[in-house]
């Protein structure tokens, strides 16, 4: 079985982002970037499946600018066998990403495609479901447990009411939740080894996919600031404030 894992390069989750002064977007210059956190879970799961002898190859793919190569390289350092970078010049929408990934799936013919359930930059939560639709494959979103069966997967999904279990036929798309596993750190020897693993570079424009935006970003603004609160000295004072000042209890 072959597993394709999609990874995205995003602003690191610990960075407090800043809105550009002209409201045209977010400041990304000189900001720490890293792999979208649930994409780390997706890679980890694929590598674990391979280590358990249930997959023959794990391929990491990223759609992004040249520097997204670092994100692919990191996936190789934790156990992916080879990488693909589909280069695009500007930020593209999840619909376009899913069309590009469809092309890669048609070429590589994986049995499973894994990715994070949501990217923490645009918070869209769309790409996996869109790819599933375009391929007419089943989708198991927000996965916190994956059990491999003969020709299917049994997937436990985190939903609002608790947990839901579904069975999807292979080939399938799985979008991974943060609780699926504990992503490993790359060891130094594995980081060195990853430098020798191949990364194929493809230009999105060569894939014949329309990546033009359908959505215009008119402006980006800071959220309204909360007015500063106060520290209370005791539990008694807290209860009194909640009762008489805020009037919420």
């Amino acid at each position: 079985m072959k597993i394709l894992v999609a990874v995205k390069r995003v602003i690191d989750y610990n960075v407090q982002i800043r809105v550009k002064e002209d409201n045209s977007g977010i400041v990304t210059d000189n900001v720490k970037m890293s792999t979208n956190p649930p994409d780390d879970n997706a890679i980890e799961e694929a590598v674990k499946i391979k280590e358990a002898g249930k997959a023959s190859e794990v391929i990491a793919v990223s759609v992004g600018e040249e520097k997204a190569q670092e994100t692919v390289r990191k996936a190789l350092a934790v156990g992916a066998d080879r990488g693909i970078l589909v280069k695009v010049d500007s930020v593209i929408e999840p619909l376009a990403v899913s069309k590009i990934l469809k092309k890669i799936v048609e070429k590589e013919k994986p049995d499973l495609v894994f990715m994070g359930k949501q990217a923490i930059d645009d918070d869209c939560n769309q790409t996996g479901q869109m790819l599933a639709a375009l391929l007419n494959w089943p989708q198991a979103t927000f996965a916190s447990k994956i059990q491999i069966k003969e020709k299917s997967l049994e997937v436990t999904r985190e939903v609002d009411e608790g947990l839901e279990t579904i069975e999807v036929n292979v080939p399938a798309i799985v979008t991974c939740d943060l609780r699926l596993n504990e992503p490993r750190y790359a060891s130094l020897p594995n980081i060195m080894k990853a430098k020798k693993k191949p990364i194929e570079q493809i230009n999105a424009s060569d894939l014949g996919v329309d990546t033009n935006p359908r959505i215009e970003q008119i402006k980006v603004e800071e959220p309204p600031k909360r007015k500063a609160g106060i520290k209370v000295a005791s539990v008694e004072e807290l209860v009194q404030k909640l009762k008489n000042e805020a009037k919420v209890i």
Binding site: P94, D123, I215, I249
Partner: protein, 317 residues
């Protein structure tokens, strides 16, 4: 222009967030139609027909829809889509799972998780865990939009009398199958709609210690929330998680106990009307959003808090 809204329900009752989504839908256009896909789901269609903002119900009733699967829903929505300018649903795990599958088949770029309707094609939505808000305009012919339920008031549930029109089922999906749902039943208010939420974080140190949270929540008729750290540590189940990848809550009162306040957690609660933080680390970021901060050991503060609440003659429920 007409809006097709996909209802979330359990075949008996409509889920509350569908009502919030109906409010948002009627800000887009007055002609709101609600699609109910279910099995033996007459009572759902009937109850939505009473919502005054709704002009028509399309009811697809077939045993293949006993359990919700995005694959099954999508073919029904796709068939109906050409009569509509907008297809919308709530941006919870139901809608997040469903809408992109619909949008991709229609070759539409979806607008996710909107918090404001500016015009029929322009919306505001949070990005970067709510640390910025983007105003976006969709240029697609059909607009696929998911709605952050807590940003819109629920629509009223009586006074309307919309027509219920039955429609044919689509093909049953062979590629995916529902197995089971482990729903955590509770008498408490739902986390997403509760007036008061009491949340615990890593500082709780164990699942057992969450009983301190439970006792306060009982007293305030509150829902119980948690940070991702507390869920990851196994102190409490995932349905309690508040934050960027969990639930977004906007209660009148949010009490964060032993939660440091990572930006991912703040994303899920910082719109709350009044925020209380109890934490022994005075430098914790949670204090930056708290209206009332108490720097204290939670294991002393929570029992004391309950004791003080017990002294009050009346407590709002």
């Amino acid at each position: 222009m007409s809006v097709l809204l996909i209802a979330e329900h359990n075949n008996k009752e409509v889920k509350p967030f569908t009502l919030n989504a109906i409010s948002a839908a009627s800000q887009i256009d007055e002609d709101v139609h609600v699609l109910v896909i279910g099995s033996n789901s007459e009572s759902v269609a009937k109850s939505i027909s009473l919502v005054p903002n709704v002009k028509k119900i399309i009811h697809v009733n077939n045993s293949i829809y006993e359990n919700y699967l995005a694959e099954n829903y999508t073919s029904v929505i796709f068939k109906l889509s050409e009569s509509y300018s907008h297809i919308v649903c709530s941006a919870n795990t139901f809608g997040k799972n469903l809408m992109p599958r619909v949008a991709a088949l229609l070759d539409v770029s979806q607008v996710s998780d909107i918090t404001k309707v500016i015009s029929e094609d322009t919306f505001q939505r949070p990005i970067y865990a709510g640390n910025a808000f983007a105003t976006v305009k969709s240029n697609d012919k059909i607009k696929c939009v998911t709605i952050r339920p807590t940003s819109f008031d629920p629509a009223p549930t009586s006074g309307g009398s919309a027509e219920i029109q039955n429609s044919d089922a689509g093909e049953a999906s062979e590629i995916s199958k529902f197995i089971k749902k482990e729903e955590i039943k509770s008498d408490r208010p739902e986390l997403g709609t509760a007036r008061v939420v009491v949340s615990g974080g890593r500082g709780m140190q164990s699942g057992e210690n969450f009983k301190l949270i439970t006792a306060v929540a009982d007293k305030l008729n509150a829902a119980i929330g948690a940070s991702r750290a507390a869920v990851d540590a196994g102190y409490i189940t995932n349905d309690h998680q508040v934050g960027q990848t969990g639930k977004v809550v906007v209660p009148d009162l949010y009490i964060a106990v032993g939660i440091s306040g990572a930006i991912q957690h703040l994303a899920g609660m910082k719109e709350s009307k009044v925020i209380v933080a109890i934490n022994k680390d005075g430098e914790a970021p949670i204090f930056s959003v708290a209206d009332y901060g108490l720097e204290a050991d939670l294991f002393e503060a929570l029992p004391k808090f309950l004791e003080e609440l017990n002294k009050l003659n009346t407590i709002q429920k």
